[in-house]
Symmetry: C2
């Protein structure tokens, strides 16, 4: 049974191979495109890059990618030359089993840092995954579970659009910025599409989508060593689709619509990550507008999103506009107080530099009632804008990240 929204020509498998002790937790995923696909990636900016990130960066963008193998429970980060060998071995084992070159496979890992992968279990797991590969929603669901770490729920997003007369599908899946074991937040996201798009176009589209989505979420501002977004396009939507042979020259309008759909899928996944952050009780959307350019708006939004004082205030249902205004003030963006107004939901708290008389009880009630909180800052300096997502900082976050001991 093929789910309508799954992109055509991809098969999925997720299973437990033994990285995690709990036999009920899936920890290995394999995704294969039936034909060679264009592929592009966006990766962590951390100077310390995990071995699988380095391997993907060597291989992308590509015109003949066949898929990706992913393990959770171990990040394969800070593992030296052996870590690189292990990451390459994962792609080689998967490639042999499905019948392609190792260089056509990609690899991701997420989990504990600084430990070598249990390669015998992983290699057996990959071999066991191949016969399970299927284009069903159940198999896709297995993948969505297998990549999770401390996430409390799976994160998927799908779209179907018309691209120059062809109905194309985008299938997205991600895992969140939550800790695994004692270690790092690691965001992984994958978007599979049956559209025909060149790898060069994919690379540009992936970068732009990430800038507006995954680069606009923050849990605690700690950039992981493993962050990865991979985008695959195999062209199987078209009846004449034959992998790399197919026409990838879409119209300008078509490409724009496709890029917008990629961004929408990524935004949905990004919001899911912020909403499911460790210990979070609120998803917070921060809209900043009216700065000189988008970059300035981004800096203000990110600084507010990463302020422990703003995040604890929202956790405590305290409409503490002073913390928000002062966080904007140290974002490194020039403004005068008179050029700033601030809303919490529909309530105007601060107008043109002047504190407003507002009903603190109803503001607090809004924070207690709603899971999804809206903050809006309006400056009067230009057209620059940004939407950013974050979560509150709770005692549960501190407990989760303090009480684990190795």
């Amino acid at each position: 049974m093929t789910t309508p929204h799954l992109a055509k020509g991809y098969r999925f498998a997720g299973l437990h191979c033994g990285i995690r002790p709990d036999p009920d937790r899936r920890d290995l995923a394999l995704i294969v495109s039936d034909v060679p696909a264009a592929a592009a990636g966006v990766f962590t900016q951390n100077r310390v890059r995990a071995a699988p990130v380095r391997v993907c960066q060597e291989r992308l963008p590509a015109d003949d990618a066949r898929g990706v193998v992913i393990c959770s429970g171990n990040a394969n980060a800070c593992t030296g030359p052996r870590g690189l060998e292990d990451a390459r071995a994962m792609t080689a084992v998967a490639a042999r089993a499905i019948g392609c070159r190792a260089e056509q496979m990609l690899v991701c890992s997420t989990g504990v840092i600084g430990r070598h992968l249990p390669m015998p279990q992983i290699e057996s797991g990959i071999l066991a995954a191949v016969p399970l590969l299927a284009d069903t929603s159940i198999a896709f669901d297995d993948v969505a579970h297998a990549i999770l770490t401390t996430d409390t729920r799976i994160k998927t997003a799908t779209r179907e659009i018309d691209l120059d007369g062809v109905a194309v599908r985008l299938t997205g899946v991600a895992k969140g910025a939550a800790m695994i074991g004692p270690n790092l937040a690691t965001m992984l996201a994958f978007v599979f599409t049956d559209a025909a798009v060149s790898s060069d176009d994919l690379a540009v589209i992936a970068r732009r989508a990430a800038d507006q989505t995954f680069n606009c979420i923050s849990v605690e501002g700690h950039t992981s060593t493993n962050d990865t977004l991979l985008l695959f396009a195999n062209g199987m939507a078209s009846s004449e689709g034959k992998g790399s042979e197919l026409r990838t020259q879409n119209s300008e309008l078509g490409t724009q619509r496709f890029a917008a759909a990629v961004t929408e899928v990524c935004a949905e996944l990004a919001r899911s990550i912020a909403a499911d952050a460790e210990g979070a009780t609120h998803l917070i959307t921060i809209e900043v507008e009216g700065l000189r350019d988008d970059r300035e708006a981004y800096r203000v939004a990110k600084t507010i999103a990463e302020s422990a004082l703003v995040k604890t205030a929202i956790y405590g249902a305290d409409p503490n506009w002073g913390r928000i205004v002062s966080a904007a003030g140290y974002a490194g963006v020039a403004f005068e107080e008179e050029q700033l107004s601030l809303w919490l939901g529909d309530l105007l708290l601060y107008h043109a530099g002047v504190p407003q008389l507002f009903d603190a009880a109803s503001a607090s009630a809004y924070l207690k009632r709603e899971h999804h909180i809206q903050l809006r800052l309006r400056f009067t300096l230009g057209p620059g804008r940004c939407t950013f997502w974050t979560c509150d900082l709770t005692r549960e976050y501190v407990r989760l990240n303090a009480e684990y001991t190795t």
Copy 2:
């Protein structure tokens, strides 16, 4: 009774004027130099500057300062034109009472943001403080208490050095980066010396000292609207000291020694602030060495100091080197893993990019046993170094900052 270490020619008073509801909490301080003093300041980099910060910035550096009036419990920040009028009025009332021009007095506030000052209580308080002014350790102690907000203890530091044959004293007092009511961290620090130093030299010395001390502490990275360091030098140490008439041309060596003493006093105050941060159970010293320049070392140290993951790990006594290495990795400083080694106390956890086999139990015991934790990162890229102080992130911090409701 004059305490040996109090700088000569300063008188102090601290009392309860009524900003705070609790009559046992002092909330107003007045410090007066008997003669006009050179004065300089270093202020918050926040774009949103409280009214007293603006007033001090207008007046400094100065050659004829007579003192400072400080209130706690209300930050006089985000209070518009009336806030500026109130801050100026505080200096005018104090100046009239001690017999100088308003422009010779400085002013600081710390506490709740966005509320107008209760000026009748403050003005009465200033008038009541004048007859209490004394050069005693008891009066100085009253000041040290009157400037506190949620600090749990007073913060003072003193030095006595020889400056070109004259024994000079430095008397420092500060309040910490802790919240007041629902609102902002605000650091205030004051150093009074009876050395004879020009205001231009003082300004340079204050800036350099702040860069190595108060700019090297972080609780949660939220820059306040009120941060202020004021440095006064009245020349009263010398028998011929007569305020602004005196010789302020010290030898180069003498000036260096004086600047070093100022930095020492500031460093002691800064460490006290980090150690007494809200909810903190550990003071953490981060030493970074071997980067291309001090600025790079500063960026790495500050990024680690502000990582919620590093801070929760130390709270949880978890020797989680992966969080520290990965925080260094996103500091925006170029390095390869092979160029970094990391120690926790005396334990080498990570050497030249390779995780070390270390005794996790004894590392955890060190974190549980010691209040003051040492992290040392050594790079192999140059002479740049930085020492930075921070604290752990605890459930008590979250509770304190979440559970207050206005």
